[in-house]
Every structure is written in C-alpha cells, then in structure tokens.
C-alpha cells in the first residue's frame, strides 16, 4: 500500500475529478505544439530511411546486409532481441506492479503499455524480414499443407513465433480493455461530432456501471496474472534461441533469467527516456513526477546488478568449466576484434546503473535521461556482443571472419526507432496516454480525505 503520510503524494494539485479529464484530453483537442512537430519530423525522417532500407532488403535480398557465412545472425537478431526486451518494462509495469498493488504505476501505466505494443511491432519485423522470403512467413503456422509436413515444435525459433504472437495479442487486449473506460469518458466529454462517433465505436457501449467495473477489475487482475508469467516466458524463450545451440558463448543455462533481467533493465531505461520526453512535450509534471522516476531507477539498480552478476557468472563459469572453447569465446569477447563493443556493454550496463545509488543522481532529470540512454546503448551492444562475437570465431579457424554492417543494416535499425517514435507520437495525439480512470482512483482518495478534514 502507498502510505502518503510516509511517502510522497502520487498526484499533485488536483482539485476535482473533472480537472483530470480536462487535462488529459486537452492535448487531444488542440493542435500539437512546436516540440511535437520537431520530434515527429525527425521520427518520420528516420522511418523513411528504414523504409528505403526495407525496400532494398526485399528487392535485393538479405545479401545487402553485412551477414556472411560464419556470422549468419547479426543486426536483425540483435534488433529483435533488443526491441522485445524494451517491451518487457511495459508489461512489468502494467501487470506485475498491478499484482503487487503498487499504486504509483497508475499514471505511467498507459504510456508504458503503449510502448510495449509498439516495441513488439518493431521487434516482429526483424525475424520476418530475416527469413529472406518474408511472404512465406505463414509456413511457420502448423496447418495441413501440400508439403505434408508439420512444423518443428522442438525448435526454439518456432517457440518464438508462438511466444511473440501470444505476447503481442495479450498485451494488445490488456491495453485496449484498460482504455475502454477512458474512451467512454472522452466520448461523453467531446463536442466534436466525428470524434464522438469514433469514441462511441471504440468505447463499445461502456457506461461505468458497478457491475461492469466489478468485472473489469477481475478481468484486469486475471489478465495481469496471466501476463506476468507470460512476459517471463517470452524472453526466456528468446534466450533459448541461443542457449539450445552448441555455440560456445551461447550454450549456457544461465541465459533465461539473465535475458529476463536484461529485458526489464533495458525496458525501464526506455520508459524513462520516453517519459522524460513526453513530460517535456506536454508539461505533464503533475502526473509523471520525480517520484515515478526515482522508483523506476530503483528497479534499474536491481535489474542492472542482476545483469552485472550474470556477466561475471558467465565469465567465471567459462574458466571454471575447463572447456577451452568456452573460455576462448569469452576471452575473445573482451580482448578480440570486438573488444570495444564488449567494454561499451560493460561500462553502460554494469557501471552506469550503479550511479543511481546516489540520491542526487536519482532525482536529477538530466542525469536520468543521460543514464537511461546509455543503458539503452549498452543493452543493444549486449545483444550484439552475444550474437556476433560468438559467431565470428567458430570451431574452424578457416571460417573465422569479421563482421561489418552495411548501410542497409544501419538503416533498418534506425528505421525501427523511426517507426517506434512515429507510432508513439501519433498515439499521444489521439489516445488517452495517461489512464484517466486509474488516476481518478488515486485523486478521489485524496479529495475525499480533504472533504472529511473540512467537515
């Protein structure tokens, strides 16, 4: 429980429930400000670069990428794991913190969930275009076909198909169910006729009766209970893409928990980056407060330390196992041709989160912004190090090679950021990006106490 006599209040200077509706819907009813246009312009430019790269990938084939015979997996898989990881923080905030009754999640929950949806969309693009013939992606589904074969259910790559699509579907449903009451609020408040029609359609007849709220609560709770193990399973399954192989550096049992911790770590960093930006664009200091940032940095300290522990455990076991190939893979990571990538990863992921132990840094917005971006960079390099350094020096020295990314690789990666930010910036123009009902729940308790105080 959030005891406000001991902790900071979760909502500031709200004098009525109507004020919350008004403030959240205000940006939806007026033209966006300059900052929004600038961000949107940049995102669109990045997206365009991605679209051009995608065109070349589809029409020329994945030969336009830097991948080669030894390094068969590179940027695409790195980006895939990176984006799935980003999504995990949203589910952590919306589901796991709901189960733990952490009330501070209420005002940041919607933007975090939205981030999950868009991050999973970005992630899903990469394995599909990596197929080379993405139009045959439906072959992954087990349907009776003229080839007379079923799909290989023993393969972690197939588990991925099921895990990611389940994760996306359940997150989407959870996100939508949470938004239905807010759409109803917007429907009842808007003066614009066309908007009223659209909101009527998507608020599916919601009227806020006691019975529907009661069921809504139960459904949210059970969905959270299902989504919590789901999110842990998703990144565990992603990690088995590597862990079930026999490549030194991949073949480790520590991978599932290590990947889950890393996912939540990077996701929270991304949530922080995004929230600091939207707080600036919309002047949302009232709903997204320093207290939220501080709580999230604490999650980052924990998960960042877990990631650091995983790095050292991996290294220790590589030596302690007595397996020469394993030890070589790890020494090669730290001192081989990709030493710089390894040390960027260690600096950003192990050192920088530890700075959050200092209250001064934890409560300084510029410091949080810089560190959160560093962590995102570090987590991208973590996946790059795992994927590329394990492959470029394999068992046969004759097939040792180097990897260098092409502009198409870079374009797809940058384009995925363009897609993510474009979708996000569009959403905050048309949807309730702060959960109106959940914030009212917090504010009403405060307003009620006040009315009792004054008799």
């Amino acid at each position: 429980m959030h005891d406000e006599s001991k902790r900071e209040p979760l909502v500031h200077s709200v004098s009525s429930l109507g004020q919350i509706t008004e403030e959240v819907s205000k940006p939806l009813n007026e033209r966006p400000n300059k900052v929004w246009y600038i961000y949107f312009g940049i995102s669109l430019a990045l997206l365009l670069f991605g679209a051009i790269s995608l065109y070349f990938t589809l029409f020329e084939g994945i030969g336009t990428w830097g991948n080669n015979k030894s390094v068969g997996w590179a940027f695409a898989i790195t980006n895939f794991v990176f984006w799935v990881g980003i999504g995990h923080a949203g589910t952590f905030i919306s589901a796991i913190l709901l189960l733990f009754r952490q009330k501070w999640r209420n005002s940041i929950n919607r933007s975090a969930e939205t981030m999950t949806i868009f991050a999973v969309i970005c992630a899903a693009i990469f394995p599909v275009i990596h197929l080379g013939r993405p139009w045959l992606a439906a072959w992954f589904l087990p349907y009776p076909n003229s080839r007379n074969l079923w799909v290989n259910f023993n393969s972690p790559l197939l588990w991925d198909v099921f895990a990611i699509s389940t994760y996306f579907t359940v997150s989407l449903v959870f996100w939508y169910i949470g938004m239905v009451p807010d759409f109803a609020t917007l429907r009842d408040q808007t003066k614009n006729k066309i908007k009223k029609k659209i909101y009527s359609l998507i608020s599916i007849n919601w009227n806020g009766s006691a019975q529907s709220w009661s069921r809504h609560e139960i459904v949210s709770l059970v969905l959270a209970g299902l989504a919590a193990p789901l999110v842990l399973s998703v990144h565990s399954i992603v990690s088995t893409d590597f862990a079930t192989s026999v490549i030194p550096g991949w073949h480790t049992t520590i991978f599932p928990p290590y990947f889950v911790a890393g996912a939540i770590f990077s996701g929270f960093a991304m949530v922080l980056t995004l929230m600091i930006i939207i707080r600036k664009v919309f002047n949302f200091d009232k709903y997204i407060t320093l207290y939220h940032f501080e709580q999230m940095t604490k999650v980052i300290i924990l998960t960042g330390s877990l990631v650091g522990l995983a790095y050292s455990t991996e290294f220790f076991v590589a030596w302690y196992s007595g397996n020469g190939f394993e030890l070589f893979a790890f020494v090669n990571r730290a001192t081989g041709p990709f030493w710089w990538a390894y040390w960027i990863m260690v600096t950003c992921n192990v050192v920088s989160p530890q700075l959050f132990w200092f209250k001064k840094i934890r409560t300084s917005i510029p410091a949080i912004l810089i560190l959160s971006i560093l962590i995102n960079v570090g987590m991208w390099f973590e996946r790059f190090v795992i994927v590329v350094t394990s492959l470029h020096r394999d068992f046969l020295p004759s097939s040792w090679t180097d990897f260098s990314a092409t502009w198409v690789d870079a374009g797809l990666f940058i384009g995925s950021f363009g897609l993510f930010f474009t979708l996000f910036l569009l959403f905050i123009r048309v949807g309730p990006y702060v959960s109106i009902a959940e914030v009212k729940d917090l504010a009403a308790k405060k307003l009620m106490r006040r009315s009792e105080d004054h008799g």
Binding site: N154, V170, T185, D188, N207, R215, L223
Partner: protein, 176 residues
C-alpha cells in the same frame, strides 16, 4: 425495454459509500451505480456477487493447454515424425513452451470475450445506455427503481437521496 428510474448524483466517494449504506439499511433496492472509476468496497455494499469470469479463463485455458500438448504429440510423434539429428519425435519437454503460450492465449482471449458479452460491450455508433455524461467524468450516479420499494413514494425517495448528500436528482428512462 425502457425502465423508469430515479437517479441521484454524488460528487464525493466517501459521501457515496455512506449514502449507499443508508439506502441499503432502509431496504431500498439499488438498481445500479455508475462511477468514473472502480470504487472499492462498492460491490459489497450493493451486494454484487463476485464475478465468475476467472472460471472461464481457467476452463478454456486448461482446454487450450491440453489441446496444444495433444496436437504437438499427435503431429510430431504419431502423424509424421520429422527426423532432426536423430532426436525423438515424442519430446514432451520441448512441447512445454508452446503449450504454455497457447494456454495463456486461449485463457485470456476467452475470458475477455465473455466479459464483452456479459457486459454487452459491442461497438455502436450511437451509444444508448449511458445514464449521464457526468457519470464517466466526475460524478457518481445512483439509480433506484421507484416501483421496487413500496414503503416509500417518489417524493420520499427523493428526500432520502437528498439527505444522504445527493446534489441533484432526476427521473430517467434507462434501457434494461
């Protein structure tokens, strides 16, 4: 079916909850309560039964899990075994992840579908069941069926609502 009800507006959660207790105490049947957010403790006061939606999730989730495991066993161990590096066709442990995913997917989707059906949540261009636009914004609306309580006539009901702190009272027709 249209039905005539008397509705009272409240603007404070505490006042609403104590008002509902008073109404219950006087044996006035509460037709419905409309709130902008889920008010905790409301279900108990107006005597709502706990939703059985989780049972749907459990049953369909279990069916989904059995179905997924069964299908994987049937397709790879019985129907057409694919020989991959000499590994066995009946590999139960590697069927577990997909079984779990299908369980979660079928459980959650079925529960949500039943939730929509039970609450009659369907897309409509013109919404016909809202009690008042303020009920989704900043007011709590209590509706009472005036015919159900033979002890009180219409005026007495209005007075009781006013005494409990209602700031406004209206007569309204709602669709059952």
């Amino acid at each position: 079916m249209a039905k005539k009800v008397k509705i009272g507006f409240y603007n404070d959660e505490g006042v609403l909850l104590s008002a509902l207790k008073v109404l219950r105490h006087k044996d006035i049947k509460i037709h419905n309560v409309f709130t902008p957010y889920p008010v905790h403790g409301l279900d108990d006061i107006i005597g709502l039964k706990k939703s059985r939606l989780p049972i749907v999730a459990f049953i369909v989730g279990a069916l989904g899990a059995f179905g997924a495991m069964g299908f994987q066993i049937w397709s790879l161990a019985l129907d057409w075994t694919i020989n991959i590096g000499g590994k066995p066709g009946l590999a139960i442990p590697s069927f577990v992840p997909i079984t779990f995913e299908i369980m979660v997917l079928s459980g959650s989707l079925s529960m949500v579908a039943v939730f929509f059906l039970r609450n009659r949540l369907f897309p409509k261009l013109k919404v016909d069941n809202i009690i008042d636009p303020r009920a989704t914004n900043d007011h709590y609306v209590v509706s009472i069926d005036p015919e159900c309580c033979s002890d009180f006539n219409s005026n007495e009901l209005e007075n009781i609502l006013k005494e409990t702190g209602a700031i406004e009272i209206q007569d309204k027709e709602v669709i059952e």
